[in-house]
């Protein structure tokens, strides 16, 4: 596996609700540029929407970086927030772990929609989530 390139292909700040849509559009464009299939794109963009909303609602905002990885060609996004972090990651990943605006399917659902899902979170240290998907 090659290391992610130093520079992201795009970057979206998550400061307000409208930025969730901006993140979706940016990821959608990046996947179009890779010639991604409709289903792959829908699944991945939906997952991005879930974690972006999570970062905004629980992390008090953050940033999403979009990377294009080669061999095999795939998209990777990294979403970081400086929020309170998640104390019990396993529990947060379980369907039914309900919060203010989600149905409790957000993070666990996002994981099911992508090919690789990594989460790093500690109380007080914010949350970083990385997700990957192949275009076809």
């Amino acid at each position: 596996m090659s290391a992610p390139p130093a520079e992201p292909a795009a970057r979206v700040e998550l400061r307000q609700e409208r930025d969730i849509a901006a993140a979706r559009i940016a990821v959608s464009k990046a996947m179009d540029a890779m010639g991604a299939r409709a289903l792959r794109k829908t699944r991945f963009v939906t997952a991005v929407s879930e974690i972006a909303r999570n970062a905004l609602d629980h992390g008090g905002g953050g940033v999403i970086e979009i990377y294009r990885l080669e061999r095999p060609l795939r998209i990777m996004i990294r979403c970081r927030d400086e929020g309170p972090g998640i104390a019990d990651i396993d529990r947060a990943m379980t369907d039914g772990f309900s919060t203010a605006r989600s149905m409790g399917k957000g993070l666990g659902g996002a994981r099911r929609l992508v090919e690789a899902f990594r989460i790093d979170s500690r109380p007080g240290a914010g949350t970083t989530i990385e997700m990957e998907a192949k275009p076809s």
Partner: protein, 293 residues
């Protein structure tokens, strides 16, 4: 493009190009990876010359002390030449390990020639040799990845072809589709089935789809789950799914497994399912004689 400080390696390749080429060729011969049965000496030498020229041109553009990044622009010519030669050689039957050894054979002669040139400066010799070794190793690994990617592509292509063959969606009547499932239904295939079916619903404006599992060998919890998800997705699209081909044995198994089909319509045979489908879209099958009475 950055112009890196000239190193002894790049000087060697420029000034002594033909000798390096000869030595590389000789090492390959010694190690038995030249494959004279598949390639004439002339052909092999031309391939080596192409690689060595690309190598030599890249060396003057990069910083030898930096980590090797073979994806860098400076290496694009060499990557291209290597891909072409790997393709040509493997097409004629050269094995992946032979192709790797083919490239690695460049190390030994270059080390020896560097030794002669840098005999008075051991520090420089060590550094140049190590750096050069790293680059050759990186390209040998690149060849391996090339093979893996190639094979993955073949497997993926065959899988896609098989999928297409094994999941035909058939229009039975106006607004009625069926998909006869045969064999096993793993996650990947279930997804393919679902995708084909949903796209066909849009294409035909279908209102009822019959998912026939008569030909499915085993219905376990997972297969049942796939079927119910397919039915759920069909409903979200605004159509209805009927699962047919549920034999008495499968019905018993499903109950034993605790599978709850909920609101999903099921029928034991495709005939019963078709009858139900016609009823829903407003058709009825009757004997011609009946109509005459």
């Amino acid at each position: 493009m950055t112009v890196a400080p000239t190193t002894e390696v790049s000087r060697l390749l420029r000034e002594d190009f033909d000798n390096v080429l000869d030595a590389w060729f000789a090492t390959q011969k010694r190690e038995g990876v030249r494959r004279p049965d598949l390639f004439s000496d002339r052909e092999s030498r031309r391939q080596l010359a192409d690689l060595l020229r690309a190598f030599s041109e890249a060396l003057v553009q990069i910083d030898l002390d930096a980590p090797v990044d073979i994806e860098a622009e400076a290496w694009s010519e060499l990557r291209l030449a290597l891909s072409e030669i790997t393709l040509v050689r493997t097409e004629r039957g050269v094995a992946p390990w032979e192709m790797t050894a083919f490239v690695l054979a460049l190390k030994q002669p270059v080390f020896e020639m560097l030794q002669e040139r840098l005999i008075g400066t051991p520090d420089e010799l060590l550094r140049d040799a190590a750096n050069f070794g790293r680059i050759v190793d990186a390209f040998a690994m690149h060849i391996n990845e090339y093979f893996i990617a190639e094979r993955d592509e073949i497997i993926e292509r065959q899988r896609a072809e098989m999928m297409e063959l094994s999941t035909p969606v058939v229009q039975l009547w106006e607004r009625v589709l069926t998909i006869p499932l045969i064999g096993t239904l793993d996650s990947m295939r279930a997804q393919e089935v679902m995708e084909n079916l949903l796209n066909a619903i849009v294409e035909h404006s279908a209102e009822v789809v019959i998912v026939d599992i008569t030909g499915v060998r085993v219905v376990d919890t997972q297969v049942a789950q796939h079927l119910l998800r397919t039915a759920a997705a069909v409903r979200l699209m605004g159509a209805e799914a009927i699962i047919s081909g549920i034999s008495p044995k499968i019905a018993q198994t499903m109950v034993e497994l605790g599978v709850d089909v909920g609101e999903v319509t099921t029928r034991p045979t495709i005939r019963a399912a078709l009858d139900e489908a016609f009823r829903r879209v407003g058709f009825r099958i009757g004997r011609v004689e009946d109509n005459r009475v």
